[in-house]
């Protein structure tokens, strides 16, 4: 059974102005990146998945059950969404309370909630900041706290809305590691991002949104070989893919390792 199914979904904030139009998608546990230009409807789409908005048409099935039959609270057990702006999510006065809030809300007992929270904070390498006020931390650290808050609830579906914003080299490595671990636990990971290098490196499926519609859904390698579709969607190929293309390497290159391997067995055409 598919973990998540979206059927004929449409949505409008104002009557008559549809920001999502007849979306049909299904997800198993393949790590998926949603990309597309600013204002394409990506964030609106994941808010619908999470039940924060209600479709004006169509259905969303989470583990076979229609989201209309779930309350937002009961859906929370299954789907975790990490907001684009951590300030929209954070409200407690210390880091540990913030991360424990989710599990406690799921009626998990205090000791277990604390354990889950500490484990999640360790995953984002913030275990030494548990007593800090989140608002004394940097934007990048608050983003990691908001990731921990969702991990602590141990949902099966985890949606990241632009996780790499403001992250430095270390933060990026932490996020990549978390995604790797979640993958190995067979969780469904969906991410919205504008970082094409990050997509190429970590996600095997790509969905491109354009003006409220899905215009491409496929393997990352195939998606990033579609230069024209990318350009029309205000996107670009990953840097390493651009280099491979410029050197006329026939394979669509997605990682530095890919490049080096292909390069060794490749002759530059004259």
């Amino acid at each position: 059974m598919d973990t998540l199914v979206v059927k004929n979904l449409s949505f409008a904030y104002q009557p008559g102005i549809e920001v999502l139009k007849e979306i049909n998608l299904s997800f198993t546990n393949c790590p998926t990146a949603i990309i597309g230009q600013n204002g394409a409807g990506k964030t609106t789409f994941v808010k619908l998945l999470k039940g924060l908005l209600q479709p004006i048409q169509g259905d969303i099935l989470v583990k076979g059950k229609n989201t209309k039959e779930y309350s937002v609270a009961s859906l929370t057990k299954h789907i975790g969404l990490i907001f684009q702006n951590p300030n929209d999510q954070i409200f407690k006065s210390n880091v540990l309370d913030e991360v424990m809030f989710g599990p406690l809300n799921l009626k998990i007992d205090l000791e277990e909630a604390r354990e889950n929270a500490l484990e999640a904070l360790k995953q984002v390498q913030m275990e030494d900041k548990i007593k800090d006020n989140p608002y004394d931390l940097s934007l990048a650290e608050r983003k990691l706290i908001s990731i921990a808050s969702v991990l602590a609830m141990k949902p099966d579906i985890i949606i990241f809305d632009e996780p790499t914003i403001a992250q430095d080299y270390r933060g990026m490595e932490i996020i990549k590691k978390i995604i790797y671990e979640l993958k190995s636990q067979n969780k469904l990971i969906i991410t919205i991002t504008h970082d094409m290098d990050f997509v190429a490196d970590n996600f095997s499926r790509v969905i491109i949104f354009q003006k409220g519609r899905v215009i491409l859904d496929g393997f990352t390698k195939d998606a990033f070989s579609q230069k024209d579709i990318l350009r029309n969607s205000f996107l670009e190929q990953p840097h390493i893919t651009q280099l491979g293309r410029k050197l006329l390497i026939p394979e669509t290159i997605l990682t530095i390792e890919d490049f080096i391997r292909n390069f060794k067995s490749f002759t530059i055409p004259s």
Binding site: G36, Q37, N38, G39, T43, Q84, N85, N87, S138, L139, A140, E141, E162, I165, A166, Q167, D168, Y169, R170, G171, H194, M196, D197, R231, F234, L235, E236, H239, I240, Q242, L243, K246, L247, I256, F259, I260, F263, K264, F266, T267, I268, P269, S270
Partner: protein, 284 residues
């Protein structure tokens, strides 16, 4: 002409135990496009705030040394006086948008009104930046109902409309789609070629390497290096300093660039040329 002179700048936030900036000295010429990189908490945002006078006027704390921007010593002028000469695009656009105005158009007009710009000039400038940042279709929208990327474009447009001599941008493209990012870099480069001095904090290393003339590398409040990208990214201790070299530089090191080179390819074009030169038309 020197547009920015920083001498022995040290700064500590109130209640902080450690210095956020530790004895920085550097100069920037008019029209230069300078990138700032470094791990989080290395002092990038604090330095931006020092260049526009928010440090120390707004944040207080202990301030030592001298910051001169467009001929004005930041200690001798207030934030409003400095704002005409040096503009700051905030890291989080949400924090920059005034909240006092109900439309994108009026939001851009807000700072121009405060500076007493005549109305017809104001209208001309607003139209220009709406076009430049591709948000003309959003002019009647409420700023707080924009998407993250659209809000970020508005924040940049608001500062550009002021036409300051120096523009400081703190991660201005973090929420923009790839082409939007490219457009912001191109627009900013164009301003720099017209003589506007640009300072940009950015984690998008490949873009900065392609556009910035020089890059400042900060680490724990200290200025470690200040050099053209092809020199700076030749350093072999970057990971230890919390940053990474551009993907292109990593690739050429993976296929045979000597680790001791003092200049390395950092852009798509340089890397392509390096590969063709090294391996010729016969490949490896």
């Amino acid at each position: 002409m020197k547009k920015i002179v920083v001498e022995g700048l040290s700064y500590k936030y109130p209640l902080a135990k450690k210095l956020s900036l530790n004895n920085l000295s550097f100069t920037i010429e008019q029209g230069e496009f300078i990138g700032i990189i470094g791990a989080n908490l290395s002092g990038k945002t604090t330095l931006c705030q020092a260049l526009v006078g928010l440090v120390p006027h707004f944040y207080h704390g202990s301030f030592k040394g001298k910051v001169i921007v467009a001929g004005m010593n930041t200690m001798e002028h207030n934030i409003a006086g400095l704002a005409e000469k040096v503009g700051l695009v905030f890291q989080n656009p949400f924090n920059q948008i005034s909240g006092a105005k109900l439309t994108v158009y009026e939001e851009i007009a807000f700072s121009l009104e405060n500076l007493g710009i005549p109305q017809d000039e104001m209208i001309r400038r607003i139209e220009e930046v709406l076009e430049l940042l591709d948000i003309h279709h959003l002019r009647a929208h409420n700023p707080f109902q924009l998407s993250g990327g659209q809000m970020q474009r508005l924040a940049i447009a608001s500062i550009m409309a002021i036409q300051p001599e120096i523009i400081v941008l703190d991660e201005p493209t973090s929420q923009l789609d790839p082409q939007g990012t490219e457009e912001v870099f191109k627009t900013v480069q164009q301003l720099s070629s017209q003589g506007v001095t640009i300072i940009m904090v950015e984690h998008k290393i490949e873009k900065l390497a392609a556009y910035a003339q020089k890059i400042a590398l900060l680490h724990e409040g200290e200025l470690i290096d200040f050099a053209p990208p092809e020199q700076l990214f030749a350093r072999t201790d970057l990971h230890k300093l919390g940053v990474r070299p551009p993907i292109f530089t990593q690739v050429v090191k993976g296929i045979g660039l000597d680790n001791n080179e003092s200049k390395v390819p950092v852009t798509l074009k340089d890397t392509y040329e390096w590969v063709v030169k090294k391996f010729g038309h016969s490949g490896s």
